[in-house]
């Protein structure tokens, strides 16, 4: 990024009048308004969440203390996002490579547009699709098989859900949702690989795949990681798809194909909030605060990776 707004305008600023001051002031004010808003977000959330930390919660169901209540939710949130990212990341990198290096050029720009479009499909639509199309298919043909053949692994211990409303289904739908985001960012960095690196590799006799693994992938690594982090951020905060699909229970388990699943923070809020009142609302807001913290940490980490630069990038 080049520094803009040259100091050339300084002498003019002295002679300029009300208009300039007004315009500059408005711009500055808008910027400050953003800071104020963010401070307000934190303040209001903390003040509304405060009773949940300080009051005795024994009258409410789901744990005596806030910590007991939020722990399975934190686990569910991280577990679901981790699974989604594990599924989505390799596929997203492959699709990005396909668009940037394998597809015919004319097709590539259309595909890029298509991927951007998919990233904007509302999550409630993915949720509806997950529960009506994907869940029955998985429950019919995949889960019984997994339980029978891989049941010795804790992940597939079963009993296999017959409705398909499992952590696995939710994770797959989440991965479909974050895939366009990771793909879009990875494709950007793959396209930025210096042509000379690629040609040098090919000139040394590398096959296309060797060229990609030697020149394109190392160059794009940090971009892919920050894309994955952004995808993780979306998966962590994703609400409706999980709320529609998952059949939640209050427990911690790695079992991904049963009817008893840990819920996620966001989905728990969406499910309980409309019917809650009093202290329950405070407790839900407190869980929202925890979610905010988790996503904040992920975003800071993503920013750090992105700022550390594209390895071997232009000087």
């Amino acid at each position: 990024m080049t520094e803009s707004s040259p100091s050339l305008s300084e002498p003019i600023a002295q002679t300029s009048k009300l208009g300039d001051r007004l315009f500059g002031g408005t711009s500055k004010g808008a910027g400050i308004l953003i800071l104020v808003t963010l401070a307000a977000v934190s303040l209001f959330l903390i003040s509304e969440a405060w009773p949940a930390f300080t009051t005795d919660l024994t009258d409410l169901d789901g744990g005596d203390t806030f910590f007991q209540y939020v722990l399975p939710l934190v686990f569910g949130t991280i577990w679901a996002s981790f699974l989604a990212l594990t599924i989505a990341l390799p596929l997203a990198v492959a699709v990005a490579l396909f668009i940037s290096h394998y597809a015919p050029r004319r097709m590539a720009s259309t595909l890029g547009y298509f991927v951007d479009l998919l990233a904007a499909i509302p999550s409630v639509v993915f949720g509806l699709w997950g529960i009506t199309v994907l869940a029955p298919i998985l429950a019919r043909s995949i889960y019984p098989w997994l339980e029978e053949n891989l049941g010795f692994l804790p992940f597939f211990a079963g009993p296999a859900s017959t409705s398909g409303r499992t952590m696995m289904t939710a994770a797959i739908v989440l991965s479909v949702m974050v895939l366009p985001i990771i793909t879009a960012i990875s494709r950007e960095v793959f396209l930025q690989t210096p042509r000379l690196h690629e040609e040098a590799s090919l000139a040394l006799g590398a096959t296309k795949w060797e060229m990609i693994s030697q020149a394109v992938l190392p160059y794009g690594r940090s971009g892919v990681v920050s894309g994955a982090m952004l995808g993780l951020g979306r998966a962590l905060g994703e609400t409706m798809a999980v709320a529609i699909i998952l059949s939640p229970a209050d427990l911690i388990t790695f079992n991904v194909i049963s009817n008893q699943n840990p819920n996620t923070i966001a989905s728990n809020i969406a499910l309980k909030f409309p019917e809650s009142s009093g202290l329950e609302v405070n407790r839900l807001i407190a869980t929202g605060l925890v979610l905010f913290l988790i996503t904040f940490i992920v975003n800071v980490f993503a920013r750090r990776v992105a700022d550390s630069g594209f390895s071997g990038a232009e000087g």
């Binding site: 040259p6 300039d20 500059g24 409630v124 795949w209 905010f292």
Partner: protein, 362 residues
């Protein structure tokens, strides 16, 4: 990478093919044979069940092709070429695999949503409707009002912030703080934005308050950072020479921005705004906790609950009513409507970005 058919020149040389240069190549003919046979193997999966399962067909065919092409290339061309072909197959296969669910999403929404895509759906609300009939008129009105309010609040703030960051900030501490905070804001989960708006309006109007404006505030929190980011990027693309030329002519800075910088960047800014609208118009969670759900039309965002299209979709699905089919059909049609709106915004953004692009830029 064309698949040329190169016959080994003589039988005895082909026996000693070790180097990748002298090795033979998997001819196009053989390649087609592998493709066709793997499709056929995929088709064999019909036999036990007797019904066509497209997804299984595609997946089995892909796996068979990967194995087939690797083994064939390994035998004829050697290890490195075989690896290359395998990766090509895997990458193309991943693309096909990913297309399956995405096509399925679009197809399902269009297929199931078209059954109630009629006049009644767009002209009547859910007031007094128990079973069949009814529509999403109130939800569409609500979505338009809430999104319009959110746009009206976030675009001026976002645009002016971007102007401050690019034109006035100049590396000042305040500008850096704002840029960082915009980044933080981008990462706010949508449900948290909803909780924030709820908390603000509860503090102002007492517990249980739900209104359209609260939903709009939640969407504004989500939309503003997107507008700032995209506008900032577009303003930075404006060449400095234009600013310098105008300033040299004695034009005050604010006029330089309004008359020179903004018109140059306007196409990108408008595209960014359209995409931001497309992003928030499908938000369900924040509206669920702020605007709530109502059965009838509510034109007043400052008073009472206001249904929006995504929330309507959700409730029609989870609480479909007595014969569940009618409610679920309405949910799918609402989803289809939502998707069409998002697509329309996307396409509009694309058209505007080319139409409004000033000459000589890019």
């Amino acid at each position: 990478m064309t698949l040329l058919e190169v016959e080994p020149s003589s039988p005895e040389r082909s026996r000693h093919q070790k180097s990748s240069i002298t090795a033979g190549q998997l001819g196009r003919k053989w390649h087609i044979v592998i493709v066709v046979s793997s499709i056929l193997v995929g088709a064999l999966t019909w036999v036990p069940t007797g019904s066509v399962n497209w997804a299984r067909w595609v997946i089995v065919a892909l796996v068979t092709y990967c194995v087939g092409v690797y083994v064939a290339a390994r035998l004829v061309e050697g290890r490195r070429k075989a690896m290359d072909r395998l990766m090509t197959a895997l990458i193309t296969g991943a693309f096909a695999l990913v297309s399956l669910p995405l096509i399925s999403v679009v197809w399902t929404v269009v297929e199931r949503g078209s059954s109630r895509f009629d006049v009644e759906f767009f002209t009547s609300s859910m007031r007094g409707v128990v079973g069949e009939g009814g529509g999403a008129y109130h939800a569409i009105v609500g979505t338009l009002i809430v999104t319009a309010l959110a746009t009206a609040m976030s675009v001026p703030v976002g645009l002016f912030t971007a102007i401050y960051l690019v034109e006035y900030g100049n590396g000042r501490r305040l500008a850096r703080a704002i840029a960082t905070m915009v980044d933080v804001m981008t990462g706010i989960p949508s449900i948290v934005a909803g909780l924030f708006a709820y908390a603000v309006f509860v503090a102002a109007f007492g517990p249980g308050a739900r209104s359209g404006i609260a939903g709009a505030v939640a969407l504004t929190v989500l939309m503003t950072p997107v507008v700032v980011r995209s506008s900032e990027e577009m303003l930075r693309l404006v060449p400095n020479e234009l600013r310098e030329a105008a300033t040299a002519l004695g034009v005050p800075k604010w006029k330089v921005i309004v008359k020179v910088v903004l018109p140059t960047a306007i196409s990108g800014i408008i595209t960014g705004i359209m995409l931001a609208i497309a992003r928030v118009i499908g938000e369900t969670a924040p509206l669920l906790v702020t605007a709530g759900i109502a059965q009838g039309v509510n034109w007043n965002p400052f008073d009472g609950r206001m249904t929006t299209l995504p929330v309507y979709t959700y409730y029609q699905y989870v609480q479909p009513g007595v014969p569940p089919d009618a409610g679920q059909d309405r949910a799918w049609t609402a989803a289809l409507t939502l998707m069409l709106i998002v697509m329309a915004l996307f396409t509009l953004a694309r058209i505007l970005s080319t139409v409004l692009q000033p000459k000589g830029l890019k």
